[in-house]
């Protein structure tokens, strides 16, 4: 008895001194998506269901005296592939002192001012998740990285060092109809090896400039979506998926103007492995830019518009070396997006609509969604991913047969 009393006494003394903040949160989620076009792929995962999963996420955050760690782990059952798995979404350590912050570990990083359009955000993304109606946060994948922030009045800096390559997650051909220039050909993937020389570097310098949040960016690393190189251009037996080297230099600004929020961003994509533009397997250098405008038109209704362009440098060499029969992309690819959001019932009911439309590719992608918060803890969403286009070879046009309806229900704690 006396022993326990002294232990409690010590605990009472120690706990306030450490002042450790411990928070455990998470959710349980059901998430299902079914193709509604009636089209089916062969193979066990080629049926109507693009997604069928139950998921538990645990988030543990501990911090004291400027130091801390954060863990976000998912445990899930994929009912389409009949597998059960875990996914370490984020796991990092934090330290902050004076004008310096340090974060080491697997972390999600989001840069730039585009809404679902990315220029200077070269961090990995999961398009398979996005196209099958998983919640927005699953569009981003963590990077195993070290991040250093330096803060000063004149300018602040964020440096990200990524030694371990992580590619984008593209829709798998077992579940999605996708354009394949080499149908039926066997393929291997060559990812950049975990070597010091392959370490990716990303730098962001930012400050406030006459009321605008201004930033400049520089990146050296790799394209996150693979390029394809056949062993023989005429009758290939094998196709190699590889990730060409890439450098990006860009800038962005966002602020209040014209009665709303104005965003602009641009970036130069320097195709380091194909500066001449004559290698048909590697995307040529290009300039990407966007302008966006967001405004509250009436109470609880917000509209956002974006115009995005991709301008291909060295278009001549691109056309000259494009293999016969391959679809050619335009010199300037343009994309318009619209986001409409209306809240009802004390913001518990949200109707939203997002549309991509490309006047140059003549393709589109619409995402209507209804989301309702039943209680503070439980919400549900029903939505659709509708793709289409004139051609089966454009970005959204190739997904035409994958129109799907999705349902998400989540209990958060």
């Amino acid at each position: 008895m006396k022993y326990w009393t002294s232990i409690s006494f010590i605990l009472l003394l120690v706990t306030p001194a450490l002042a450790e903040e411990v928070a455990l949160h998470g959710f349980v989620q059901g998430n299902y998506a079914a193709r509604i076009t009636g089209e089916e792929l062969s193979g066990p995962e080629g049926g109507d269901f693009l997604l069928g999963e139950e998921r538990l996420q645990l988030k543990l955050a501990v911090s004291s005296q400027g130091a801390g760690f954060f863990l976000k782990t998912d445990f899930f059952r994929d009912a389409v592939s009949r597998t059960t798995d875990t996914d370490l979404r984020e796991a990092y350590l934090d330290y902050g002192t004076g004008a310096l912050d340090l974060r080491i570990g697997r972390q999600i990083i989001t840069w730039g001012v585009g809404d679902l359009v990315f220029i200077n955000d070269i961090f990995p993304k999961d398009y398979a998740a996005f196209f099958s109606g998983r919640p927005l946060e699953y569009l981003k994948i963590g990077s195993d990285a070290m991040k250093v922030n330096l803060f000063a009045d004149l300018i602040s800096a964020e440096l990200v060092v990524i030694p371990f390559f992580q590619s984008d997650n593209l829709p798998p051909s077992q579940r999605f109809f996708m354009f394949d220039p080499f149908p039926g050909v066997q393929r291997t993937t060559e990812e950049p090896r975990a070597e010091l020389g392959n370490t990716e570097l990303a730098l962001r310098l930012y400050r406030s400039l006459s009321g605008f949040d201004a930033a400049v960016y520089a990146y050296k690393g790799f394209l996150k979506t693979p390029s394809m190189r056949p062993d023989d251009p005429v009758s290939p037996i094998q196709v190699t998926l590889f990730f060409p080297r890439l450098a990006v230099y860009g800038a962005s600004a966002q602020g209040n103007a014209l009665g709303g929020v104005v965003s602009i961003e641009a970036g130069y994509y320097d195709s380091l492995d194909d500066r001449s533009g004559r290698d048909p397997a590697i995307p040529n250098s290009m300039v990407k830019y966007l302008a966006g405008y967001q405004r509250q038109l009436w109470t609880d209704f917000t509209a956002g518009l974006q115009y995005y362009g991709e301008y291909l440098i060295d278009y001549g060499p691109y056309r000259d070396t494009l293999p016969l029969g391959f679809p050619a992309q335009d010199r300037l690819r343009q994309l318009l997006t619209v986001r409409l959001t209306q809240l009802f019932l004390y913001q518990t009911l949200r109707l939203s609509f997002f549309a991509f439309y490309s006047p140059t590719d003549q393709d589109y992608y619409f995402i209507p969604e209804v989301r309702y918060s039943f209680t503070d803890a439980l919400w549900g969403a029903v939505g659709a991913n509708i793709f289409g286009g004139e051609k089966e070879t454009t970005f959204f046009g190739q997904l035409d047969k994958n129109d799907n309806l999705y349902v998400t229900m989540r209990y958060e704690f």
Partner: protein
């Protein structure tokens, strides 16, 4: 010589009258009362830290909670900066929200979404929008521009054993109310009650201050309610652990702390 005499007997009596006038006559200006009321309500101290618990109650009895830490700092020329950290509900836990508030122009608003580590600007044109789904608007939380309404003192009367000014405010531009009546305590200048009338001249929203306490010499509304008499929905807000002049630094209101809220301030 003549001109000096003129000064003596012409101007001086006017000045004397002005100086000796009793206070109520000076305060008779509705705008002046509202200005003092806003100062007492939204600008007390150099800065402020509070834990705010909002309970949203539907007519059917369902309740939703919003638990946040609010930090506020005053700047010259009536500018203010707000930093809010959400503790609950779970789907917004860890989110931070920052407002730079300017008189007579749109606020700057930023929202940090931890799930994707994104800091984004939020369009802020409609300050009459609901704050986090409650019956309070953004303006109810951080104050409305003084010049957005025409204010008139209607009368003085007793209210719950206190002497109050009753001020009528009519929006100059478009707003969802056409008329607001405020019962303002003559001692503390805090609003004890407000009534909002719509286009049909019918009462639809009532604000009441249920509990006022002296905190470090500042009269502070510790508990307030906004009721929508048409929908039966109401929101009760309780300020807990409120402190003034805690010494918030300017650097707190920055992207750095939006992304990594300082544990010292948000507890």
């Amino acid at each position: 010589m003549r001109s000096i005499t003129k000064y003596r007997f012409g101007i001086m009596p006017t000045l004397l009258v002005a100086v000796l006038s009793p206070v109520p006559l000076l305060a008779a200006d509705g705008a002046e009362i509202i200005k003092k009321s806003q100062a007492a309500f939204y600008e007390a101290g150099q800065d402020m830290k509070a834990r705010v618990k909002m309970t949203l109650m539907a007519r059917e009895g369902q309740q939703r909670l919003r638990d946040l830490t609010m930090l506020r700092k005053n700047y010259p020329a009536s500018e203010q900066k707000y930093f809010m950290y959400f503790h609950s509900p779970a789907d917004v836990a860890g989110m931070t929200f920052m407002i730079y508030k300017y008189p007579n122009r749109d606020d700057d608003r930023w929202l940090f979404i931890p799930a994707i580590n994104l800091v984004n600007r939020i369009a802020a044109q409609d300050s009459r929008s609901s704050f986090v789904g409650s019956d309070f608007t953004y303006e109810d939380v951080s104050g409305r521009d003084l010049t957005a309404d025409a204010h008139a003192l209607l009368r003085e009367e007793p209210f719950n054993d206190r002497k109050v000014y009753v001020v009528e405010s009519k929006p100059i531009g478009p707003a969802e109310y056409t008329r607001k009546l405020s019962w303002i305590d003559q001692a503390s200048f805090l609003p004890l009650k407000e009534e909002y009338y719509d286009v049909q001249e019918s009462l639809y929203k009532i604000f009441t201050a249920e509990e006022i306490k002296d905190v470090q010499g500042f009269a502070t509304i510790m508990k307030r309610t906004m009721s929508n008499v048409k929908t039966g929905h109401k929101t009760e807000v309780v300020f807990e652990r409120i402190q003034y002049n805690v010494g918030l630094g300017d650097d707190l209101f920055s992207e750095r702390y939006l992304r990594r809220p300082p544990e010292k301030w948000i507890k």
